[in-house]
């Protein structure tokens, strides 16, 4: 599964993208797995209310299932326009 990070999430974790093997069933479980890896991840995911998630390039939520998902992206609320 491809995991992408943007804006300060990318800076906090220290990379824009990585490929991982996971058995997580939901986004929240994936966040738990990643946070347990390294303090950088734990810091980035400390406050989920400050984060948004997209599954295969569609905005989703942290309780969504990862079944069949190929790409997960984590980022702060958008500030375009």
């Amino acid at each position: 599964m491809d995991i992408l990070y943007f804006a300060w999430v990318r800076e906090r974790i220290g990379l824009p993208k990585e490929k991982i093997e996971t058995t997580a069933g939901t986004v929240r479980e994936l966040v738990g797995e990643l946070s347990a890896r390294d303090p950088r991840y734990a810091a980035a995911f400390a406050d989920l209310s400050a984060l948004r998630v997209a599954l295969d390039q569609d905005l989703s939520d942290f309780d969504a299932s990862l079944e069949g998902v190929r790409e997960v992206a984590f980022f702060p609320p958008m500030t375009g326009g």
């Binding site: 943007f6 804006a7 997209a54 390039q57 905005l59 609320p77 500030t79 375009g80 326009g81």
Partner: protein
């Protein structure tokens, strides 16, 4: 509809004229064209030297496409255009433009406002203000931007 996500700047006059010409030849009988241009604002303290705009290639075009299609469904639009830049921009530079065409102006104005409100909070762009000393601050989303979406429910 046309959507462009690009690093390069764009010529506002040329884009507006091309949009108007396309609308005129489409046979849509549009009587109103509204254009909006977003410009990079300097920081209030005046120490911002540039704005770095990051985006999510692929999702950006897709999200803008969905937002624009929704606008075309909600209002009686002849056409819509969205251009949004990314990369490093200095204050005063054009960051984006929206154009809408409709038979009557209320549809064109409302659809343009809708596009702007949704682009702000639902298109994957993030702005970082770069200051003279080389540091940067990510622009935080405002509650008011999220609140602005509720009027379209």
């Amino acid at each position: 509809m046309r959507i462009a996500v690009q690093e390069a700047t764009f010529d506002l006059g040329e884009e507006s004229q091309r949009f108007a010409a396309d609308v005129a030849t489409s046979g849509a009988n549009a009587g109103a064209i509204v254009t909006f241009t977003g410009v990079v604002r300097g920081s209030d303290s005046g120490d911002m030297v540039a704005m770095e705009i990051e985006h999510y290639p692929g999702m950006t075009e897709r999200a803008i496409g969905q937002i624009t299609e929704e606008a075309l469904r909600r209002w009686s639009l002849a056409d819509a255009l969205v251009i949004h830049r990314h990369g490093r921009l200095v204050p005063g530079e054009q960051i984006m433009m929206v154009a809408t065409a409709a038979r009557h102006r209320s549809d064109a104005f409302e659809a343009a406002e809708y596009l702007m409100d949704y682009l702000k909070s639902r298109a994957p762009f993030w702005k970082k203000e770069l200051t003279q000393d080389g540091s940067g601050n990510w622009v935080e989303a405002k509650d008011s931007d999220e609140d602005a979406l509720t009027r379209w429910d």
